[in-house]
């Protein structure tokens, strides 16, 4: 059968001599166009959906009666729909798009079998749609980060398997002798995710573990999605875009490799710190705390590396949207990681656990770090696959400032409000000496959080404005006519001293 040998040739580099040459960057970019557009388009759609759910959930926190009569829009469902829409809809779609664009470029190979990716993207988005519908309909599994009902997850798994298979094929066709650090990160993420996701599915949904083991598995999974999927993808993107935009190599490549392997060794252990003070063995908690502090090594290493690369080039932040978003994300990575390590200290966890402080921390990680890096990556990738420039620089600025100020304010108010809440909850009843301040009624504590929650909603509105600006710019770019016969986004190839028109 002819197709068998063709298939073999398409899977084995040695069987297809015509592919030996290193592809041009513009050819590689052009070959990624369709799947990249599919992934980015759907990710932005989910971003908007997730933002609407976020606003609903946020307003319900200080206006409980708001839409309270519709069971599909009760807080428990809307909040869960928000989490899953932004994680599985926005974040993973965006990271798929960025990951395979990076893989193709760094392997110096044209995208092969892009049909696999299109099928994967279709299945993934059908799975997420079904999952969100299931959550709103009341079919949530109630396991945090895995709320999608069992009828949605097989689709996700199938889509994921296709992406993984595709990545390995691309990697084998690599024309680059050296594996750049971003490739290590992306490959590792693609390799780790099916492992943690399948173990979690089996041990929590398919055949649930009993008792506290269940919560151990749950937090092992939930934390590793952050650390072994989102973190490596975003760090891989930073390690590519930062030097690429500046036009100078990363400060210390040695440090970047050290950062990668130390992340690989330590992160997997850290998830237990969500259960500090809970009914799990103390040694397990201590191991989690230790790992959380070992994470300071890769974080500091990465921070030093990014910062020393930026030194002397800060003026480039004025011109490059990619750099702005990426540097904001890299700084947020340092902040949120060190904050996370500190939150694993037992005495500090006593205050912050079960308060809004934790919500602030998770948004510092998933939004200020990960999402901002993805925005920056999309700003770089889109002109190169569309061969035209972003239509409005003003909308890019609105997007950046609304989101940067919005999320900073968000983290700030929830951190202050959360610590206050935690201290009030820890206020002891009157002691034997009659001196300690009396206990505060729980309802009183809840009422005291309202001003902070209102401020959270305001920053949410600001972030929404940023997302709308981004979405408008994206759609506008798709519809705007490109220059005929362009093989590259002309603007970007100009040397810095050449005149650039917008």
């Amino acid at each position: 059968m002819a197709s068998a040998s063709q298939l073999a040739a398409s899977l084995k580099p040695s069987a297809s001599p015509e592919m030996v040459k290193r592809a041009e960057l513009s050819e590689i970019d052009a070959s990624t166009k369709l799947p990249a557009l599919f992934f980015f388009g759907s990710s932005i759609l989910w971003l908007l959906v997730g933002t609407v759910f976020a606003l609903l959930a946020s307003f319900k926190m200080h206006m409980p009666h708001f839409l309270g009569d519709y069971e599909w829009l009760t807080f428990g469902r809307v909040r869960t729909a928000h989490l899953n829409a932004v994680i599985y809809g926005w974040s993973i779609n965006a990271s798929f798009g960025v990951a395979f664009w990076l893989m193709a470029r760094l392997s110096r190979a044209e995208l092969r079998h892009s049909g696999l990716l299109l099928i994967a993207a279709a299945f993934w988005n059908i799975g997420v749609t079904l999952g969100i519908y299931g959550i709103l309909a009341g079919d949530s599994t109630s396991i945090e980060w895995l709320e999608f009902p069992p009828y949605a997850t097989p689709l996700l798994f199938f889509a994921y398997a296709l992406v993984g298979a595709w990545a390995i094929i691309t990697f084998r066709f690599g024309r680059s002798k050296h594996i750049y650090v971003s490739q290590w990160y992306v490959l590792a993420a693609l390799f780790w995710f099916p492992w943690i996701y399948s173990v979690a599915q089996i041990m929590l949904i398919f055949s649930p573990a009993r008792g506290t083991v269940q919560s151990l598995v749950n937090w092992w999974f939930a934390h590793n999605v952050l650390g072994l999927w989102f973190t490596p993808i975003a760090l891989g993107a930073v390690y590519y875009f930062l030097p690429k935009v500046l036009g100078k190599p990363i400060h210390s490549y040695y440090l970047s490799v050290l950062g990668f392997w130390s992340l690989a060794i330590f992160y997997n252990w850290a998830g237990v710190h969500h259960l500090i003070g809970g009914p799990v063995p103390v040694w397990v908690q201590t191991a989690g705390i230790t790992a959380s502090f070992m994470m300071v090594i890769p974080v500091i290493v990465t921070a030093i590396n990014h910062h020393l690369t930026m030194i002397g080039s800060f003026s480039a932040l004025k011109f490059s949207p990619t750099l702005r978003f990426t540097v904001f994300g890299a700084v947020a990575y340092t902040f949120t990681s060190l904050q996370g390590s500190s939150m694993s200290i037992r005495s500090w966890s006593e205050v912050t656990h079960f308060t809004h402080y934790t919500i602030g921390h998770s948004h510092a990680g998933m939004y200020a770090f990960f999402t901002m890096v993805m925005f920056g990556s999309i700003y770089y990738i889109m002109p190169r696959i569309m061969l035209k420039e972003w239509p409005s620089a003003k909308l890019i600025s609105v997007h950046f400032w609304a989101c940067a100020i919005g999320v900073s304010f968000y983290v700030l108010v929830l951190s202050i409000g959360g610590v206050k809440q935690g201290m009030e909850m820890n206020t002891l009843p009157v002691g034997a000496d009659g001196k300690v301040g009396g206990p505060i009624a729980f309802l009183e504590i809840v009422k005291n959080t309202i001003p902070w929650l209102k401020m959270r909603s305001y920053s949410g509105i600001l972030i929404t404005i940023g997302h709308l600006a981004f979405a408008i710019n994206f759609v506008w770019m798709l519809l705007k006519p490109g220059s005929v016969g362009a093989s590259a986004p002309t603007l970007f190839r100009n040397a810095p001293d050449l005149e650039v028109t917008r």
Partner: protein, 72 residues
């Protein structure tokens, strides 16, 4: 979860997983991925987009009078 599941499926998969990680590190070392690290930092540049050329200036406004100086 029954014991057979752990011994027959979960444990072999976990062992394979670790083995593949060790293999990856060994492969990286054997093929010289961990040598000559400073050169590795430059693989993202080529003659098309060489070191020293910024590649994203989207927000740069047209400046009619004095073009900005080239940074080496």
């Amino acid at each position: 979860m029954s014991d057979w599941f752990f011994y027959l499926i979960a444990f072999p998969i976990a062992a394979l997983f670790i083995a593949s990680a060790i293999y990856a590190l060994q492969w990286a070392s054997k093929t010289g991925q961990l040598r000559d690290l400073e050169e590795g930092a430059k693989v993202i540049f080529d003659e098309e987009e060489p070191v020293g050329r910024p590649t994203d200036q989207t927000l740069r406004q047209p400046k009619p009078v004095t073009p900005p100086k080239a940074s080496k």
